[in-house]
Symmetry: C2
Subunit: 93 residues, 2 copies
Amino acid sequence: MTDVFKAIADETRRLLLDELLERDEQTLFELCSKLAMRHGLTPTRQAVSQHLSVLEQAGLVRAERRGRYRLHTIDTAPLAQISERWPQREAPR
Amino acid sequence: MTDVFKAIADETRRLLLDELLERDEQTLFELCSKLAMRHGLTPTRQAVSQHLSVLEQAGLVRAERRGRYRLHTIDTAPLAQISERWPQREAPR
DNA sequence: TTGACAGGCAAGCAACCACTTGCCTATTGT
DNA sequence: ACAATAGGCAAGTGGTTGCTTGCCTGTCAA
């Protein structure tokens, strides 16, 4: 539970979720280049790999080996807990 | 935006939001004792004060001086961005 | 008015985190 | 077979963070 919140506390990881939301089953290299192309971020491959591990441990991403590729898939289910925990209401003036 | 995610990445701060959701306009000391009574946490007053500052800077809490008291109020509006950013869908098998 | 109460400021510290570097394993194509 | 490709492991590092300690300010009640 804490893992989910800590996972999305990082901007790079949020961007990774965005990319996976747009298209599932992306490899590490694909995600790396997407970060560079579309967001101007150039972390090393290992850095991105570690981010994906964090997301995976939080249950937000699932990875599947296929040949020499490792395909990553998003799972937004854990995020539902957030809106459940603090339901929306009016902000007091 | 990043502030909101980082704010709720901490368990103590999430508990503070829980308490404020149950009752608004609580003082620092009230929140301290609630953490102790109901959750077994005994951070110092300053620690809790710093947590409240983080929540305030994230727009999740508003504080108002009244006499020698400082009353804290929750604002869950920023949390709505989360469910907006990653809409729910089925997890792939 | 003065002590008690509610809170604020700032420095110091240990743990954590994002990131890099260097090297290694496994799979694929030619 | 072997080079290229995709990814993994682990140690090291600088910056951030959560927390404490010590002292100070402002407000209220007796």
